[in-house]
């Protein structure tokens, strides 16, 4: 062996180095990942959009049938009218979570996350694209639920601004939470556990199906500790102009949760938590 192992003399770069990063190339990266994530759920929209809409309609039919005429809420609001916004928001939240978490865990387990890991995309780009796709899926499913349930009861739109605000805040929060779950989980059943033992109970116990004012004081107090309650309650305020708590209180709680969850998510992405070893 010759001691230096020197490379051949005269080796020259004939191929130009890659051009430097520009805002346009960064934007293209984010846009591509967002497009890919939206295309991913859209290609299986029967499962990712139609199925959750059907589930919501079944809830409406069953609970509406049993309780319409027996329960009125906020003084004069009929039960079906009350239930619809709750179901819409529940669908937004659950689907926003499902989108980012299932996409990430699938890519991790099948190994195709490597295609993304070798790109120049920053943790911000990952965050914006995955959460953006969660928002799109949440809004699409929520709009679908709205569209098929609106025929069952008169629609009030007291303050559309609140509706929009809580939809976006809730979907972004759940998209980021799904991203955290997807990073943390190593198998599909860990995601399922996250969904069934955390997301599901917290949404069901957040006042989707009832006003928490109908609960005994102890359970009312417990409900106030559940951030999902504020997402649903604030969203519902946009429809009826009345709610269990002030929409500003809901906004403050949801806003703080949003900051905490998004910061944690960005920190984990930046560290490459469980994806870069």
């Amino acid at each position: 062996m010759s001691s230096l192992g020197a490379p051949p003399r005269g080796a020259r770069p004939l191929v130009a180095p890659a051009p430097a990063e520009t805002p346009a190339s960064v934007l293209s990266g984010v846009r591509t990942l967002l497009y890919k994530e939206v295309l991913r759920f859209w290609k299986v929209s029967f499962q990712t959009v139609a199925a959750p809409v059907l589930t919501a309609v079944l809830y409406l039919l069953i609970f509406g049938h049993v309780l319409e005429g027996r329960v009125t809420v906020f003084g004069s609001v009929g039960y079906t009218s009350f239930l619809i916004p709750g179901l819409v928001m529940m669908s937004v939240l659950q689907n926003a979570f499902a989108n980012s978490s299932s996409s990430l865990i699938q890519s991790k387990i099948t190994g195709n996350l490597v295609f993304l890991l070798v790109t120049p995309l920053s943790h911000w780009a990952w965050f914006l694209a995955y959460v953006g796709a969660s928002l799109v899926r949440g809004v699409v499913v929520g709009a679908g639920v709205m569209l098929v349930t609106v025929w069952f009861a008169p629609l009030h739109l007291a303050a559309p601004g609140w509706i929009l605000l809580f939809t976006v805040a809730g979907a972004v929060l759940m998209g980021a939470l799904g991203l955290i779950a997807g990073l943390w989980a190593e198998k599909f059943d860990q995601i399922a556990a996250f969904q069934n033992f955390l997301i599901m109970p917290m949404t069901f116990l957040s006042g989707v199906f009832y006003s928490i004012q109908s609960l005994p004081p102890f359970w009312q107090a417990v409900s106030h500790l559940n951030p999902f309650f504020y997402m649903i309650d604030g969203f519902r305020h946009g429809f009826f102009g009345v709610s269990d708590v002030s929409p500003w209180t809901s906004l403050a709680v949801v806003g703080c949760s949003l900051v905490v969850v998004c910061s944690l998510c960005l920190m984990l992405l930046r560290r490459g938590y469980k994806i870069r070893h």
């Binding site: 051949p8 080796a11 591509t32």
Partner: protein
Amino acid sequence: MPAISFRNVSKVFAGGRGEIRALDDVSFDIEPGEFFGLLGPNGAGKTTLISILAGLASATGGHVTVLGHDVVSHYAQARRNLGVVPQELVFDPFFSVREALRIQGGYFGVYNNDAWIDELLANLGLADKANANMRQLSGGMKRRVLVAQALVHRPPVIVLDEPTAGVDVELRQTLWQFIARLNKEGHTVLLTTHYLEEAEALCNRIAMLKQGRVVALDRTSALLAGTASTMLRFKLDRPLPTQLLAQSRVTGRIVQITAHDAREVESILATLHAAACEPEDLEIGRADLEDVFLEIMQAEMPQRIPAAQVAH
């Protein structure tokens, strides 16, 4: 400026039974335009080193740069210059071949590049599969798509981690013709492979890793010239005389014995004759890379090549 530079790279995995040192102070440079081979037995640290280069893993110590860009502090620019073909046969089942390639380009800020995508597909024998879903492709076809995905943003530095593991002869030929052409056009290629004849034929320089250390680093021609230069090859139906066992490699009936000069060849033949062994198809040839590889890997303790020697 080197195309790739590894400087004192180490990687320690904290396992259940203590620490595992996967890479131990690895240093070497790959110059622009080189076709460089990284060889070593399973578990030597080849894939770990490539993972650190590609940003899939972080080093415990040391630095890695791609065309002068640090893979940690300037990861975006480093990765823009790098195309990595991963070892695992992975694919995204949601997309067609063309969609997968367009998406991969888009991550790098490259779009409207269907002409290049078509050229890649044609060169890799995938032209008629452009609109097929990834799930419909055979293993070999999926492997070709992995190569195309790594090249879609036209990186000047290409890394291939065992790209021909388990693929048929035809693909190996197609792939090597294409990669050799890219190398001629100035792309730097870093290759890991188990097929030593491929490395011998393609790589102008080779590093060998053993237990996380660089144990050989030289031009391929120098590696071949610097070791036992003569090999005696023959077939034998009887057990080999015990005094020859230490210096020979036996694969079924085929026996290969290293010899340093004509006198040694004579003595080996005499030993065989004395033991009443009749060698068939006897030939005397030059040692190939496999012989060099085995000789280096069989050395008792890996000697580390000091970093000072590889700096230039």
